[in-house]
Amino acid sequence: MRNFNFLKAGLGFYTALFITFLYAPFVVMGILSFQAGPEGGPQFPIIEWSTYWYQHVLGIAPPSRVAPLPIAEALTRSLTLAFATMVVSTVLGTLTAQAFRRHFKGSGFVFYLVVLGMMVPGVLLGLGMALVADQVGIARTWWGTAFVLHVVYTYPFAFLVMLAIFNRFDSSVEEAAWALGVPPGRTFRKITFPLIFPGVLSAMLFAFTLSYDEFPRTLFTGGSEVTMPIAIYGTFAVEIHPNLFAFGVLTTVFSFALLSVYGLLMAASVRRAKTKGIGVQEDIE
């Protein structure tokens, strides 16, 4: 038993090291984002602590030789794209998962067809779509060719999340509603949806995050109007500056805010399920 505790302590220590390893670049990014500007580069040592690069990102720093990140347009595009992708892929994922609640012929084929979407590397899909667009004569745009690929990528995640939710779903409540003559649409709205809501939220979160950060697919299909990741990728070729790190810190903080909203919604939904569980019956009437 003592041996076992020793092992546990060892593994615990290892896990702590492991998590440190995961956070290392994150910490470096945080430190270097406070590098002096505009002459300070993205490396150690810190010449002087300053918030210059944050001002630079927000566009309030005096003009310098470092080109500002195209935040206004690129970020708006990225957020719009992520939002649209989120809505479409969550709807598709829920529909497909709903169909999978009954066994049907060819379910294996559909399953792998959908899952293939998250398996195929973005660079391949981007290339394929660019070729198709080229031949059919469609212009490559972030809201067209890139958007459909974003959905191809995130829809499988939404589908898998919803599938897992439906697998643990007690369908007797639904059957009771049907038996009482409640129409399917209404049953879905009043019974099924509230029960699967946490799953829907997770699916939305997945889709939004993945789409927002997506770039190999967008690189080939996004056309000339860049999204945020493409704008960042563009700086790879030239020199990088700490403004990228400042931007990274800002977006991470923003993501945390989003995550907190998700957490609150989730908690609220769990609480509502607990208190309102008894009230479902009146709700159907």
């Binding site: 041996n3 546990k8 593994l11 615990g12 896990t15 492991f18 998590i19 390893f21 995961l22 956070y23 670049p25 994150f26 470096v28 270097l32 490396q43 150690f44 040592p45 598709l92 529909l95 497909t96 169909a99 009954r102 049907f104 559909v110 399953f111 067809l113 959908v114 398996m119 195929v120 590397p121 973005g122 391949l124 899909l125 290339l127 394929g128 779509m129 070729l131 198709v132 459909v148 959905v151 191809v152 829809y155 589908f159 898998l160 599938l163 897992a164 049907w178 003559g181 129409p183 399917p184 950060d213 770039f215 690189l219 960042i232 790879f236 990228l244 790190f245 990274g248 977006t251 991470t252």
Partner: protein, 300 residues
């Protein structure tokens, strides 16, 4: 609501449920399936088709030829890139497993409190909220000649000269990829480990099995589906990679993905398509091989 109405809508429901029974499934499945066929299957087939087109300097024409294929397999550079991609993929796969498994073991098996378990897993996922590309770039000031690692090591007197092989080499690409993808290995494994019934392990212990034997005979086999799922995640991501390589190798390490990007950049579509098909083939072999070990759908 009147008393008549519910009965009425129930009648409608009966009609509709008859219709839904027959075609409901089809209606639920159709949007997703059509989307995937149009925007996933068609592009991939197009890629295969274009790989046989004739490439001239700046354009392609649909005259079928195997010229691009011959160029790929006879060129030292391109065939070398294939081998390099496979080598880096295998290295990263093994490293993510070796580094990730003990952490997953701790989170999934040794932490019995569900809340702590969730907190630890969330802690692993948080770095993902920073843009992928920025995370990759953050390795540069870590690994460079005057980077964080060299500064720390020199301060502790462990080395006298900065280690230069850390950045802009194959090693830096591997370090970066392992750090970025290891979580995809940890997650599924921890998930499977957390599902193991405690009584199983207690039974084994009561019967006098040593910790190592329990691990080998009970815990590891039960975690295998997680390992396979993790391996699939890591494999598909690493095989399709190009950004990490171009950011951390100073464009010295060219993976198949990098070559596709370069070829597309210079409008060599047919040639890019050839590499795309090769990459697809490699991935298909890898995934099918891994799926032989475990039935993914049954494990969900």
């Amino acid at each position: 609501m009147s008393a008549v109405e519910p009965a009425d809508s129930a009648g409608h429901a009966a009609d509709r449920s008859g219709f839904m029974q027959k075609y409901g499934h089809f209606l639920l499945l159709a949007p997703g399936v059509i989307w995937m066929i149009l925007f996933l299957v068609v592009p991939l087939l197009m890629m295969l088709y274009v790989s046989f087109w004739t490439q001239s300097t700046f354009s392609i024409s649909p005259d079928l030829t195997v010229k691009s294929w011959v160029t790929f397999f006879s060129s030292e550079t391109y065939f070398g890139a294939l081998l390099r991609t496979l080598r880096i993929w295998l290295t990263v796969l093994v490293l993510t497993f070796v580094i990730g498994y003990p952490a997953a073991l701790f989170i999934g098996q040794h932490v019995r409190n569900k809340t702590v378990q969730t907190i630890l897993l969330v802690a692993c996922v948080i770095p993902f909220w920073t843009s992928f590309l920025i995370r990759v770039l953050a390795w540069r000031p870590m690994l460079g000649k005057e980077g964080a690692i060299n500064i720390v090591l020199q301060k502790f007197g462990l080395i006298s000269q900065p280690i230069e092989v850390l950045l802009f080499t194959e090693l830096s690409v591997i370090i970066g990829m392992v750090q970025i993808y290891v979580v995809f290995m940890v997650g599924p494994i921890a998930f499977m480990l957390a599902r193991i019934d405690d009584s199983l392990i207690e039974a084994a212990r009561d019967l006098g099995a040593s910790s190592w034997r329990i691990f080998r005979k009970v815990i590891f086999p039960l975690s295998l589906p997680g390992v396979v799922v993790g391996a699939i995640f890591v494999s598909v991501m690493v095989l399709g990679e190009f950004a990490t390589a171009s950011a951390l190798s100073g464009r010295k390490v060219n993976l198949l993905g990098n070559i596709i990007v370069t070829q597309v950049g210079s409008l060599k579509w047919a040639f890019a398509a050839v590499i795309g098909v090769v990459l697809t083939f490699v991935m298909a072999v890898v995934i099918i091989g891994l799926l032989r070990v475990v039935n993914l759908r049954r494990e969900l």
